[in-house]
Symmetry: C2
Subunit: 187 residues, 2 copies
Amino acid sequence: MLEFAILGFLYDEPLHGYDLRKRLAALTGHVRPIADGTLYPMIKRLETAGLLTRDLQPGQIAAPRHMLSLTPAGRAELLRRLREPDELFITDENRWFALLAFLRHLESHTEQAAVLRRRLGFLAQPASFFWDGDRPLRAADFDDPFRRGLFTIATATTRTELRWLRDTLADLEAPGAPKSAAGDVTT
Amino acid sequence: MLEFAILGFLYDEPLHGYDLRKRLAALTGHVRPIADGTLYPMIKRLETAGLLTRDLQPGQIAAPRHMLSLTPAGRAELLRRLREPDELFITDENRWFALLAFLRHLESHTEQAAVLRRRLGFLAQPASFFWDGDRPLRAADFDDPFRRGLFTIATATTRTELRWLRDTLADLEAPGAPKSAAGDVTT
DNA sequence: CCTGAATACATCGGAGGCAAGGTATCACGA
DNA sequence: TCGTGATACCTTGCCTCCGATGTATTCAGG
């Protein structure tokens, strides 16, 4: 997850660790901030694996910075993960959001569409938070307002995302259409 | 998280591990299924901590079952966690959903409302996935449809939840009998 | 009668991530 | 001049949880 997001941010431009940390905090951190003790060892691991390189720069404001850039292997690795995301990246909302944040890096519309289709497949299948044997329970089955809220929110989210997925897929799979029209779903 | 959900399910009725596993899978698992290697050690830990007891029953269908029930300490612990949830339970959607699933166990409407207010406070504060320095970037700042989708979905979700939070808070804090489902709390 | 599937519990190794605690540099105000 | 706060990087120890694997039991189908 983190590893993926690091590759995603660095795909655009070289960054130093501190900057990376702030971007990661914005992307996933409003929900779950990442810790120093997570980030720096991860950078080291990626470096050891040959996915990024470090370039020491004299401090601009304070301490010296390590500018991080992806190696060709690193760039290839991001693309691979975008093309063939683990199932968790399709089903877990946080990871899925991270995936969406960088999906534009995949150049082929066909490949982008294939990823969206996987998410569509996941969202389209019936699901429930609670079951009575084989019968999925729905909002109306509950007295308490909190479980009802759970369903209300989940249903609304799913509906919005399904609409967006269908619209965007239509755009991506249109014969010659440019892709800029898909954003207008803000209702 | 898992620990919390186990306490929540057992608060209602004694269950055996396998049943618990299925319920946990439905609650959190459509997103991220839990593994055996997580559940059983966790049960053991909770038992050691004196929060639940085991009652061995001869197998109904197959192997013998360990019926699990909360001790008074276990019940108290769930209520404590509902009353004073860690910050992560307020900000992380998965955990927040788990919290909502069991919030009815808190008997006082005032205490329930206090928890919802914390979530309201979190959702009401401005947030963005991406920043340009101090300026939060919005959907219109992006060309690519995927980042736009990110905003579309997140905004819709937040809006739905805020509406629900405000409605439910109004019900909970109304002086007389709360309307709709919120009133069915058998104190 | 045998096999496979579902039920039911358990252990082990390891990865990912966090909190707490460092080390330094620079700017600014008191 | 001294402290504070922001910038910037790093290490250690811990905990949660996962994946793989193992052990029984029961029932249905061939």
